[in-house]
């Protein structure tokens, strides 16, 4: 019996070593928890599925950006805190390329009216180019100066697209516009129509309808989340391959000591620029996929806190590990981003609070006379605020207790093959003898 038990434990432990298992297990727990929360809140099946769908969407998008950031920071040691800027470039360019040339109805500004796939490629390329523009002059700076340059760049982008100057402009005689502070409305039809208009898709709609009672538009949203998961997998695969290769090895060396890597014959600038541009392009892609199906976008969406969210996700998962990046995004979204609100709803479901005091002072004063209820109510009323406090505290806590994150301690070997010990007979058969 006991051997059986240890046996299963050992087997479980070896299972746990597989990244796929880890991802599945943690995500299983997340999804199960949220399904249960949905049940507790009295959601119907379609509500629960919808909650999980939204969760998937957020995790997938954050996962993509976090992977791209991991490529920058985790592998190469490039400290990028201008993520929001690159996402903005990707999304805005795509939208401007895709918007119809005729600014009718709610859409105030004209676009180029290009087909969506072309527009997406355009957006990704533009984000990559933005990366190039930052990289060429700035990559030789110290890590922290570089960081400040990137965040300054992101703010320049955000303020630039907000400014009246670019609200409407013409480029080579073509009318374009960022919409300024008003933002852009995506009046180009559902970009996913390429898929949604396929014949097979109608059976998917029927299926979700019979399973969850979804309407066609909800079915589309569900399908979109699934597409995002596929894209995430693709990016994961891409970055995994990138890091486990001689290319990735040079990146790692740059992170460790760039000058020494140069002396070993590596054109480190070349590598850094390549990897920075690649990461920025992926950030642009994530920015596009994040919002291009929404009705519209405003520059507000790209304030610096988006960048910090991504950093928190990366730190949770552990810089340097791709699996960690995906897990970190999952945990960030489930616990820090969406979690507190669901917690509040759950509590509200059980307890009904009276009116809270209006001010902090009003909530603290009664504590002196032993009445903590007003403080609790005030705290609850201000839950949204405390959610951000929680994010900050979580980041500090992680940096204190587990700076390497969940999986960052497990350095992934930077080689295309496992670096195993050569067997002994091999070594004697080789030129081993000549050194003694």
């Amino acid at each position: 019996m006991s051997t059986n038990a240890t046996d299963t434990r050992v087997r479980l432990e070896t299972l746990w070593e597989h990244d796929a298992v880890k991802i599945l297990a943690i995500f299983g727990v997340i999804y199960l928890t949220y399904a249960l929360i949905g049940l507790a809140l009295g959601y119907s099946l379609d509500g629960i599925v919808n909650t999980l769908r939204r969760m998937t969407y957020l995790i997938a998008v954050y996962g993509m950006v976090t992977l791209a950031l991991n490529l920058h920071w985790g592998y190469t040691g490039i400290f990028n805190i201008g993520i929001a800027g690159f996402m903005a470039v990707g999304l805005y360019v795509t939208m401007m390329l895709a918007k119809p040339t005729d600014p009718a109805g709610a859409a105030q500004y004209a676009g180029l009216g290009l087909p969506m796939p072309v527009a997406i490629v355009g957006g990704v390329v533009a984000a990559g180019l933005a990366g190039l523009i930052v990289a060429i002059p700035a990559l030789r700076l110290r890590a922290d100066y570089f960081a400040i340059t990137t965040i300054a760049f992101a703010e320049i982008v955000r303020l630039g697209i907000t400014s009246g100057a670019l609200q409407e402009f013409s480029l080579f005689g073509i009318e374009l516009g960022t919409g300024g502070g008003r933002g852009l409305i995506g009046n180009y039809g559902d970009p996913m129509n390429v898929i949604f208009e396929l014949e097979v898709f109608s059976s998917f709609v029927d299926l979700t309808n019979s399973l969850f009672g979804f309407g066609p538009r909800q079915a589309r949203a569900l399908a979109y989340s699934m597409v995002l998961v596929i894209v995430l997998t693709g990016i994961y695969w891409l970055i995994q391959r990138t890091s486990r290769s001689p290319f990735g090895r040079v990146l790692k060396a740059i992170r460790e000591d760039e000058e020494a890597a140069q002396s070993l014959g590596k054109n480190t600038n070349h590598f850094k620029i390549k990897v920075f541009v690649l990461g920025c392009a992926l950030m642009g892609l994530a920015g596009i996929l994040w919002r291009f199906r929404r009705t519209g976008v405003t520059p507000e969406a790209f304030r610096p806190h988006v960048t910090f969210y991504i950093w928190i996700a990366l730190i949770i998962g552990g810089a340097g590990s791709n699996t960690g990046s995906v897990l970190g995004s999952g945990l960030f979204v489930a616990i820090l981003f969406e979690g507190p609100q669901y917690f509040r709803r759950l509590v509200e479901q059980v307890i009904t609070f009276g009116d809270a005091p209006n001010t902090f002072a009003g909530s603290v004063a009664p504590i002196l006379s032993g009445n903590t209820a007003p403080f609790v109510r005030y705290t609850f009323e201000e839950f949204q605020t405390l959610q951000f406090v929680l994010m900050g505290v979580a980041l500090v806590f992680l940096m204190h207790r587990r700076p390497e994150g969940l999986l960052g301690h497990r350095e992934e070997t930077a080689a295309a093959i496992p670096l195993i010990r050569r067997s002994n007979d091999d070594s004697t058969a080789g030129r081993g003898g000549d050194s003694s």
């Binding site: 939204r54 009705t295 507000e300 609100q341």
Partner: protein, 400 residues
């Protein structure tokens, strides 16, 4: 002081400052400390905050404001209700929120189920002409009538609440007000905008034997518009309370938008997931624009009490989006008229918050002033919120 103003003569006769009190405090402080040379100022609903003079530290006697009026047929009834309950005067957009919640509940009762698509078909049957008229104080009777499948014509606190074919209010009224120890309304302008109309179901299933009537609010209780949103949410609760004596249990759920796009999407999504077929919200036009896609794709009726942006009229909403707040198309005209006749201006300039609301209202105002009033628009200057100083913006807006 007269010659001081003359040194930099020229400049607009009237400056329209479009924004919210958050930035307004700083803008007016900068204005009064460095640029006060007799220019008249006009502001829209966003600045309609009786406390502003206190915060600015000036009486602000040169400021005239406009704002959507709660000048519906039953305004007084509503005001009494509100003052009884909360012991304070109802603020801007609270009447619109009351009406939005009331209409959503009535339409739900008429539809007989918590189903957004069915409710969409009942919104106009409840609100538009041809039917018995009910006001804010008569909601219990209105509920009974709706449950019987009758046509009713809700007569709101903010307006008659008739929806046109795009879901905007067909009629709108605006107050002209000044600061005088709070907000003092000095005039009211009423517009007959478009015709009531649009698609609706032919009949109402109604019925009383059913689950809770579910309705939700998605309003800014914190963030930039937090000051505005909190009384709005109170008014919404007041509307739901009016149904206390009926056979229906009202399930009213409120979520906060924080005046933030992501939070709007996230908390609004939770309302959809929880099965609420109607959402009263969101507060600011920007947030509403980004949320409309989500609500309509989930077949949820969204009815905003305070999003006034033009773009929302024609947005792709599959007929699910309504509002009780009038479009800024009208407010721009009112402001232009006030500037021209009341303030006797020949030239105007605007200083507007750089978002959907500010940009559109600025354009509407200047267009109307030039085309309808025959005046001249000088500068339209945008500003970002939360700046430490607005002297540069004021300088440009006030230059000639």
């Amino acid at each position: 002081i007269g010659d001081e103003g003359d040194v930099e003569s020229g400049g607009p006769d009237v400056l329209n400052i479009i924004g919210y009190p958050e930035s307004g405090i700083q803008i007016f402080r900068d204005f009064y400390s460095d640029f006060d040379n007799g220019t008249e100022i006009i502001v829209p609903d966003g600045m309609q905050d009786g406390d502003l003079p206190n915060e600015v530290g000036n009486e602000m006697a040169n400021v005239t404001g406009t704002g959507p009026s709660s000048d519906g047929p039953n305004e007084d009834a509503y005001t009494d209700l509100y003052e009884d309950e909360y012991d304070e005067a109802p603020g801007v957009f609270t009447a619109h929120t009351f009406d939005a919640v009331a209409v959503c509940i009535l339409a739900n009762i008429a539809a007989g189920e918590n189903d957004g698509e069915a409710i969409r078909g009942q919104m106009r049957r409840i609100a538009n002409p041809e039917g018995d008229e009910y006001g804010p104080g008569e909601l219990e009777d209105a509920a009974a009538a709706a449950a019987d499948g009758e046509n009713i014509n809700y007569q709101g606190a903010s307006s008659t609440v008739d929806f046109d074919d795009v879901g905007d209010p067909a009629e709108a009224a605006y107050d002209v007000w000044e600061f005088d120890d709070g907000i003092e309304t000095v005039d009211t302008v009423t517009f007959e905008g478009s015709e009531p109309g649009g698609e609706m179901d032919d009949d109402a299933p109604g019925g009383t034997d059913r689950d809770d009537v579910m309705v939700s609010m998605l309003l800014p209780e914190t963030g930039d518009l937090g000051q505005l949103g909190t009384p709005m949410a109170q008014a919404g609760e007041l509307a739901a309370d009016q149904f206390a004596g009926t056979d229906f249990d009202i399930d009213l759920q409120a979520e906060d938008t924080e005046t933030d796009e992501d939070t709007t999407i996230s908390n609004g999504g939770a309302l959809i997931d929880a099965g609420y077929p109607t959402i009263v919200g969101a507060g600011s036009s920007g947030n509403t624009v980004s949320f409309v896609g989500n609500s309509s794709s989930a077949n949820v009726v969204q009815c905003s009490p305070s999003s006034t942006a033009l773009s929302l009229s024609n947005i792709d909403d599959d007929g699910y989006f309504f509002r009780t707040a009038p479009s800024d198309l009208l407010q721009g005209q009112v402001m232009a008229e006030v500037a021209a006749s009341r303030l006797e201006a020949d030239t105007v300039a605007t200083l507007y918050v750089n978002n959907d609301y500010g940009q559109q209202l600025s354009e509407q105002f200047v267009d109307a002033f030039e085309e309808e009033q025959g005046g001249e628009g000088l500068n339209q200057v945008s500003f970002e919120s939360e700046q430490g100083s607005y002297s540069g913006e004021l300088e440009s807006a006030l230059s000639d």
